[in-house]
C-alpha cells in the first residue's frame, strides 16, 4: 500500500489514492464511533439490569449477615453486655420553619448529588426533626 502511494503521481493515481484514503479513513472513523454508540447503549441496558437485580441480591446477602448479627446480639443481651449507645430525646420539632427549610434544601441537594440513579429527588419533605443527646 505504502509503495503504491509513493509511486502514484498522475492525476488518476492521486484520485485513486485520495479516494481509497477517504473511503478507508472515513469508513474506519464511522465504524469506530458506531461501535462506541453500541457500547454506550449496551452500557445503559447493563446498568439498568444490574439496578433491577442488585437489590434482590443485596437483600440475600444482607439477610445472611442479619441472621448472624441477630445471633450475636442475642448472645450479648443474654450475657448482659449490650453496649449500644442510648440516645436521650431532648426535643422534637422545636426548630423554627426557616431552619427546617434550610435542612430540607441541604438534604435534597445532598441526595441529588450523591444519587447515581439519575432520578429527580425534589419530592423529599422534612416533616420532623429530633434533637437527641447521645453523650
Amino acid at each position: 500500500m505504502q509503495l503504491y502511494l509513493l509511486l502514484s503521481t498522475s492525476a488518476a493515481d492521486k484520485w485513486s489514492t485520495g479516494g481509497i484514503t477517504t473511503l478507508l479513513g472515513l469508513g474506519m472513523t464511522f465504524i469506530m464511533l458506531a461501535l462506541l454508540v453500541c457500547f454506550i447503549h449496551l452500557l445503559r441496558y447493563i446498568l439498568n439490569f444490574l439496578e433491577k437485580t442488585t437489590p434482590a441480591f443485596k437483600e440475600k446477602i444482607y439477610g445472611i449477615f442479619r441472621k448472624k448479627n441477630n445471633k450475636g446480639l442475642e448472645s450479648n443481651i443474654s450475657n448482659g453486655t449490650n453496649n449500644n449507645t442510648t440516645e436521650e430525646l431532648v426535643a422534637e420539632n422545636n426548630i423554627d420553619n426557616e431552619t427546617m427549610e434550610v435542612i430540607e434544601q441541604s438534604v435534597k441537594q445532598y441526595i441529588s448529588l450523591s444519587a447515581d440513579d439519575g432520578k429527580p429527588h425534589d419530592r423529599i419533605k422534612i416533616v420532623s426533626v429530633k434533637e437527641v443527646n447521645n453523650d
Binding site: 500500500m1 505504502q2 502511494l5 509513493l6 492525476a11 492521486k14 484520485w15 489514492t17 485520495g18 479516494g19 484514503t21 477517504t22 478507508l24 479513513g25 472515513l26 474506519m28 472513523t29 464511522f30 469506530m32 464511533l33 458506531a34 461501535l35 462506541l36 454508540v37 457500547f39 454506550i40 447503549h41 452500557l43 445503559r44 446498568l47 447515581d116 440513579d117 439519575g118 432520578k119 429527580p120
Partner: protein, 467 residues
C-alpha cells in the same frame, strides 16, 4: 599599552557588531536553500506577529494559544535571535553503523579539514558545502567510516550552543504536549450530553469529512501523503490533534502554518459555519425543537471513558496517546475521588502546557520556513477542510432528522467539527436566530465532544495508514 587597549576595544566592537542581528540575521543553511528575503522577511514576520497579537488581544481570537504563538513568532524573527534561541546549526556525518565521523558548523568543518569557507553569498556558501561533501566522499573510509558515503550519511541539525527553545521544542518534537493538553481537556469535558444521546457520535464522525476531502486537495497541490494528512487534519478543528499528527508524520516544517491555520479557523468558526449551515438546511429544519436529554448517572459517566479507551485501544492503538489521555482526564474528573488532580489537570497543567506549546509552535514560524507559497496553500486548504467538515456534519444531521421523524435539528451536526465549545454555541445561535426559544446548546454539546473523539480517531487512522 595604549595601542593594545585601542586594538582590544576595536576587536571587542567588531565581535559585538558580528554578533548583532544585522550580521547573523539568518543561519547559512536557509540562505543556501534559496531564502533570499534576508532581514526583509523577518520584518514581514514581525508585522504578521503584530497582527496576531492584535487579533488575540483586541478581537479575542483564541487568545489562550494565539497570544503565545504570536509572541513566539515575534521573538524568533528578531534578527539574530534564531541562533540564540535554538542554537548553532551544523552538519553531522554518520556512517552505516551509526558512528559519528564528524560534526560541526559548516565553517568549523571546512576549517578543520583545510577547506575554503566563504559565506559572502548563497552561491559561495553552497560551494563551501559542496567542497566539504566531496572531501567527505573522497576520505570517507580514511576517516574511519564503515560503508559508502551517501546522501543519507549527513544531516543538518542544531549541534552547538543549544538554546532554550531547542529544549522546550522537545515537548512538541517528542509529541508530549498534545496528549497532556488532551488530559486537561478531558478533565474539563462533560460527556453527559453525548452519553444521553449516543447517536451524536455519528455526527462527530460525519464532520471529519473535511479532513479526507482536504487530503485529496492537498495531493493535487503537490503535497506528499504525509504532508497532505498533516494539512487535512486542520479540518478536525482540533489544535493539539493537528500538532500531534504533523509531528508524527515528520512534517515539522509545516507545523507553524498548520497550527496557525487550525487555531485561526477555530477562532473564525462563528464566521465560517453559519452561512454553510443556513445553505444546507431549510427554515423548517432550523426551527426543530429537540426533546430534553435524559439525566446521565454517575456510574455511566465513570464507565464511559474506560469503554472508549478499551474499544479504541483494541481497534486503533495509534489513536490511544490522544484518546487515552483525554479519557484519563475525564475519569479523574468523573470519579470524584481525586478533586486535587482534577483541578490541577483542568487548570495548572493545561495552562502551563498551553504556554509552552503556543510559544514553541510560534518559534517555528521562522521567516525562511514560514514565508513560502505552501503556507498560503495550507491556509486555503484549511478553510476548505473546515467548510466540508461543517457540511458533512449538517448533512448527516439532515439524514438523522429524516430517520427520526423530525426529532433532530440538523444544525447540531455542524458542532461535530469539535472546536469545543465554540461550534456548539454557533449551532445554538443559528437556531435561536430562527426561534429565540429554541435552546440547542446541550444537544449540540454531544456532537461537539464527539468531534474531539472523531478527530482523534481520524488522526489515528491517518497515522496507521501513512506514518
Amino acid at each position: 599599552m595604549t595601542d593594545f587597549i585601542a586594538s582590544s576595544i576595536g576587536e571587542w566592537f567588531v565581535n559585538l557588531w558580528n554578533s548583532t542581528g544585522f550580521q547573523t540575521a539568518v543561519p547559512d543553511y536557509y540562505v543556501m536553500n534559496g531564502y533570499s528575503l534576508g532581514i526583509g522577511g523577518q520584518i514581514i514576520m514581525l508585522i504578521i506577529a503584530g497582527i496576531f497579537v492584535f487579533l488575540a488581544i483586541a478581537k479575542k481570537f483564541e487568545p489562550n494559544l494565539l497570544l503565545a504563538i504570536a509572541f513566539g513568532m515575534f521573538i524568533i524573527n528578531i534578527p539574530g535571535a534564531y541562533s540564540v534561541l535554538y542554537g548553532q546549526g551544523g552538519y553531522t556525518f554518520t556512517d552505516e553503523v551509526g558512528k559519528v565521523i564528524a560534526s560541526g558548523t559548516l565553517e568549523d568543518l571546512c576549517k578543520a579539514f583545510g577547506l575554503v569557507y566563504d559565506n559572502t553569498s548563497a552561491e559561495t556558501l553552497q560551494a563551501s558545502l559542496d567542497r566539504l561533501l566531496s572531501f567527505m566522499n573522497e576520505k570517507w573510509t580514511e576517516l574511519g567510516a564503515t560503508g559508502a558515503f551517501t546522501e543519507n550519511s549527513y544531516v543538518y541539525e542544531i549541534i552547538a550552543d543549544k538554546g532554550l527553545f531547542y529544549y522546550l521544542y522537545k515537548g512538541v518534537d517528542w509529541v508530549i504536549f498534545p496528549p497532556l493538553i488532551f488530559l486537561g481537556i478531558g478533565a474539563m469535558t462533560d460527556f453527559g450530553p453525548l452519553i444521553a444521546n449516543p447517536k451524536s457520535l455519528l455526527l462527530g464522525a460525519a464532520a471529519q469529512l473535511g479532513i479526507f476531502i482536504t487530503f485529496i486537495g492537498a495531493l493535487f497541490l503537490g503535497f506528499g501523503e504525509q504532508a497532505a494528512s498533516s494539512i487535512a487534519i486542520i479540518g478536525g478543528a482540533d489544535g493539539p490533534t493537528a500538532i500531534y499528527l504533523t509531528q508524527k508524520m515528520g512534517q515539522s516544517d509545516l507545523l507553524p502554518a498548520i497550527a496557525v491555520a487550525a487555531y485561526s479557523y477555530m477562532a473564525l468558526v462563528p464566521v465560517i459555519q453559519p452561512p454553510i449551515m443556513k445553505l444546507l438546511t431549510t427554515k423548517k429544519e432550523r426551527l426543530i425543537k429537540m426533546e430534553q436529554l435524559r439525566p446521565v448517572s454517575k456510574k455511566e459517566k465513570i464507565i464511559f471513558p474506560i469503554i472508549v479507551t478499551g474499544v479504541v485501544g483494541i481497534i486503533l492503538p495509534s489513536a490511544l496517546p490522544l484518546l487515552g489521555m483525554l479519557m484519563l482526564g475525564n475519569l479523574i474528573k468523573e470519579s470524584g475521588v481525586v478533586p486535587r488532580l482534577s483541578s490541577t489537570a483542568q487548570n495548572e497543567l493545561i495552562n502551563i502546557i498551553t504556554i509552552f506549546l503556543g510559544i514553541t509552535v510560534g518559534t517555528k514560524a521562522f521567516a525562511p520556513v514560514f514565508l513560502q507559497v505552501q503556507t498560503l496553500e495550507i491556509i486555503l486548504l484549511g478553510v476548505i477542510a473546515f467548510s466540508f467538515g461543517t457540511a458533512g456534519g449538517v448533512l448527516l444531521g439532515k439524514l438523522l432528522c429524516k430517520l427520526s421523524g423530525g426529532k433532530i435539528n440538523p444544525l447540531i451536526g455542524a458542532a461535530g467539527v469539535s472546536a469545543v465549545p465554540m461550534a456548539a454555541r454557533v449551532a445554538q445561535d443559528v437556531g435561536r436566530k430562527e426561534d429565540p426559544n429554541n435552546y440547542l446548546l446541550m444537544h449540540a454539546m454531544g456532537p461537539n465532544v464527539a468531534g474531539v473523539i472523531g478527530s482523534a480517531v481520524a488522526a489515528g487512522v491517518l497515522i496507521a495508514m501513512f506514518a
